[in-house]
């Protein structure tokens, strides 16, 4: 039986996961995004990390899973299991406040508060991350990744990406 590494505490694991970037948006980590839901350490030192996918078809999911596993192994865990859960479903409301500011500085409009599931044919209002104007136009309702849309600001004339509110 492997001795439990002294540094292997839930706090240490959460801290190391804070450094695992989202592969598609490297200014935020997997914990900033609210993707990590739970960390458990078994008696034998095996670690179970439960995470929830942002979008079901996100092509970065297996990269994220491997990065989480690697980060925890690097802390000295004897075994790591990265489990997926769909409940509760991920929402952009879980993106941390300071991460929203980093997103904005990176040029991505942070998401508006998520609506609870109404089916409507119109989108939410979005603010330009550069000049804070609401005078923006969506130029593409789908962006370079599943979680983003494309906009142009008519006030400062800059194009930008915006997070979908999910």
């Amino acid at each position: 039986m492997t001795a439990i590494q002294p540094q292997l505490t839930p706090q240490a694991i959460w801290a190391v996961l804070d450094t695992v970037p989202d592969p598609e948006i490297p200014v935020v980590s997997v914990t900033d995004m609210g993707m990590v839901r739970d960390v458990q350490i078994g008696e034998d030192g095996a670690v179970t990390v439960t995470f929830t996918p942002t979008f079901s078809g996100c092509p970065a999911l297996h990269v994220i899973r491997e990065s989480i596993g690697q980060a925890v192994r690097d802390l000295g865990a004897s075994a790591v299991e990265v489990k997926s859960t769909l409940t509760p479903p991920w929402t952009t409301d879980w993106i941390k406040e300071d991460a929203r500011e980093r997103l904005r500085q990176y040029g991505i409009a942070p998401p508006a508060p998520a609506e609870d599931g109404l089916i409507q044919l119109q989108a939410d209002a979005t603010r330009c991350p550069r000049c804070a104007s609401f005078d923006v136009r969506m130029t593409g309702s789908f962006g370079p990744t599943l979680c983003k849309r494309l906009y142009v600001c008519d006030a400062c004339k800059e194009p930008f990406e915006g997070f979908k509110s999910v």
Binding site: L86, P89, W90, G117, I119, G140, S141, L146
Partner: protein, 259 residues
């Protein structure tokens, strides 16, 4: 994913497997049709949008097939990439060739409205793993519907040419769309048990959403519908060539890791 909270009878399990597979098959085939536009869409943003939508639909298919795997152990990739046209249970509606842009957007719109409303109802499924998947997929599907609804409006209210093409697309698609509402064998039992949404109730909501939008808002004329629909074992001539292309890489290199 949590374990199923209720015990399924053999009959229920078989019917649920059929339904999950039918749901996944529609998503896979429609995603493949959407993917055919990659690099060919009228503008770059739409190329990206349709690829996004196709990717989401494949994500949904993956979740449905993961639910099936939990029931009978079958592998999602093997199901998608090794079954022949005879074994697929896609509807003819999604098999039809991609057509022009109006056809593509209108089909996706009709499907998105159907899927969003079905998922909305499936969130209340007594089969917890399905309710979880529906909750997840529903959030994504709303974006598809907003996008394609806007395109249908734009095309219908655009130029005489775009109006004509949208009306032609509606005329061509309407006789097929009814197949989405055809239950699989044993589905009625699952509906009664609360595992699956009541298809008729979902259909009523679907009509209430899209018919006024298409006719009053977009000025399109609804063609006569209501023709009898064949089962999901009846395919168009277009499915086999689509599968030939979609499955060619997997069949040539079945042991290669996907990444």
């Amino acid at each position: 994913m949590t374990a199923p909270a209720l015990i399924l009878s053999d009959v229920q399990q078989a019917a649920l497997i059929r339904k999950l597979t039918a749901l996944a098959d529609d998503e896979i085939i429609l995603a493949q049709r959407g993917g055919e536009w990659t690099g060919h869409a009228p503008i770059l943003e739409e190329d990206i949008a349709l690829a996004n939508i196709a990717q989401d639909e494949l994500g949904h298919a993956g979740m449905y097939l993961e639910l099936r795997r939990a029931l009978d152990g079958t592998d999602a990739d093997a199901l998608a990439f090794t079954r022949s046209a005879d074994e697929f249970t896609s509807s003819r509606f999604v098999e039809l060739p991609k057509g022009d842009w109006a056809f593509t957007m209108l089909r996706q719109y009709l499907y998105d409205a159907y899927e969003a409303l079905w998922l909305d109802a499936a969130r209340k499924s007594t089969y917890e793993p399905l309710a979880e998947v529906a909750n997840k997929a529903f959030r994504e599907e709303r974006f598809h519907l907003q996008h394609t609804a806007l395109w249908v409006e734009r095309l219908a209210l655009g130029t005489p040419e775009s109006m004509k093409r949208t009306q032609d697309a509606l005329n061509a698609l309407w006789p097929y769309v009814g197949q989405l509402w055809q239950p699989v064998e044993g589905e009625d039992g699952l509906i009664e048990a609360g595992l699956l949404p009541d298809l008729n109730a979902v259909k009523t909501r679907w009509e209430g959403l899209i018919v006024p939008h298409l006719t009053i808002q977009c000025g399109l004329i609804l063609p006569p519908g209501g023709a009898a629909q064949p089962g999901r074992d009846t395919h168009t001539e277009y499915l086999a060539p689509l599968l030939d292309e979609m499955q060619s890489v997997y069949r040539a290199h079945p042991d290669t890791p996907y990444w």
